[in-house]
Amino acid sequence: MTDYALLLIGTVLVNNFVLVQFLGLCPFMGVSSRTETAIGMSFATTFVMTLASLLSYLVTTYLLAPLNLEYLTTMSFILVIAVVVQFTEMVVHKTSNSLYRLLGIFLPLITTNCAVLGVALLNLRLQHNFFESIIYGFGAAVGFSLVLIMFSAMREKLTNADVPTPFKGAAIAMITAGLMSLAFMGFSGLVKI
C-alpha cells in the first residue's frame, strides 16, 4: 500500500510529467490561457490517461507478450489512445456541449499528447503491474492537471500585469513555465523510487 502511495506522490510531484519530464507541453501552453478551459482539459486528459494506461497494459500483457509481438507496442498504443480519445470526445459532446466548444481542437489533439503515449511506454519500461500501471497513469494525469491549472491561473493574472512589451504574451508564459519547472526541482529527493 505504501508503495502505491509513494508511486502516486512520486509521479505527481517528483517526476511531474510536464515540468520535470517535459512531456505534454503543447496542451500545457495551448489551453492554459483560461482557467475554465484548463480545468476541462485536465478532466478529459485524466480520464484518457488513466484509461489508456489500463488498456495498454492489458493489450501488452495478454495480447502482445504471449505472441512475442512486443515490437507492435507503439503502434497498438497509438490505436488504444486514439480510440479512448474518440470515446472521450463523444462522451464530452453528449454531456457538456459548452465544454466541448471550449476545448475545441484540443480535445482530439489529446491523441498526440506525448504524455499519454509516454505513460503507456514508461509503464512497459518500468515493468509496472496492473495496479501500478493504473496508478502511474492516474498520477501522471493528476500531475499534469495540477501544473496546468496552476499555470493557467498565473497566466490569467499575467494578462492584467504590467509586463514589459518585449515579454508580452508567449514570452512571459515561457519564462513562467521555466520558473515553475525550477520550483518543481525542489521536490526531487522527496521520494526515492
Binding site: M90, N97, S98
Partner: protein
Amino acid sequence: MNILIAILVLGVIAALFGALLGYASVRFHVEGDPIVEQLDALLPQTQCGQCGYPGCKPYAEAVANGEAINKCAPGGEDTIKKIADLLGVDVQPIDENHEQDDTSQSNRPKVAFIIEEDCIGCTKCIQACPVDAILGAAKQMHTILIDECTGCDLCVAPCPVDCIEMRPTPDTIQNWQWDLNKIAVKQVD
C-alpha cells in the same frame, strides 16, 4: 507466419475498438446543434439585419460557426456578455460599424424634432408618420409627441423646408444611465 499473426492481432484489436466506437456513437448520439437554439434565444429577435445577416437565427448559426459575437446592435453589451458566457469566449466591445444605424454619437434612441419657427404647416410629415406621432393641421404649426415617436426617420425626407431633425431623447431621471463602463479604471498594483 509471424507477420500474418501480427496483422491478425492488430486487425482484431482494431475491429474490437471499431465496434466499441460504433456502439458509443449510437449511444452518445447528439441531436442537431443545440448551441444555435441557445444563441437564438439570447438574441433580441428584432430581425433588424444590422449584423449583416437576414435575421436573428441566421446570425446565431453564423456565431456558432465562429462569426464575431459583437455585431448585434439592438442587443447591446448585455447580449454580447451573455453570448460570451455561453460560448466561453472573451467579451468584445460592440462593433462600431454595426452600431451607427440606430445610435450614432450616443447610445440613446433618437426622436424627431420640429424646429417650430420654420414649420409652414404643410402636413406632409403627418402623412408620412407611421405611428401618428405628429400633431398639427394645415397652415398650423406641427409638433412631435415624443412619447409616441419611434425615431424611424420617415418624416425627415418629406419636409419641404427641412425643419425636422433627429435629436437624441433628452436626459430625464427615468432614462438616465450611469455609464460606469466608460470611466477608465486603471489597475494599481
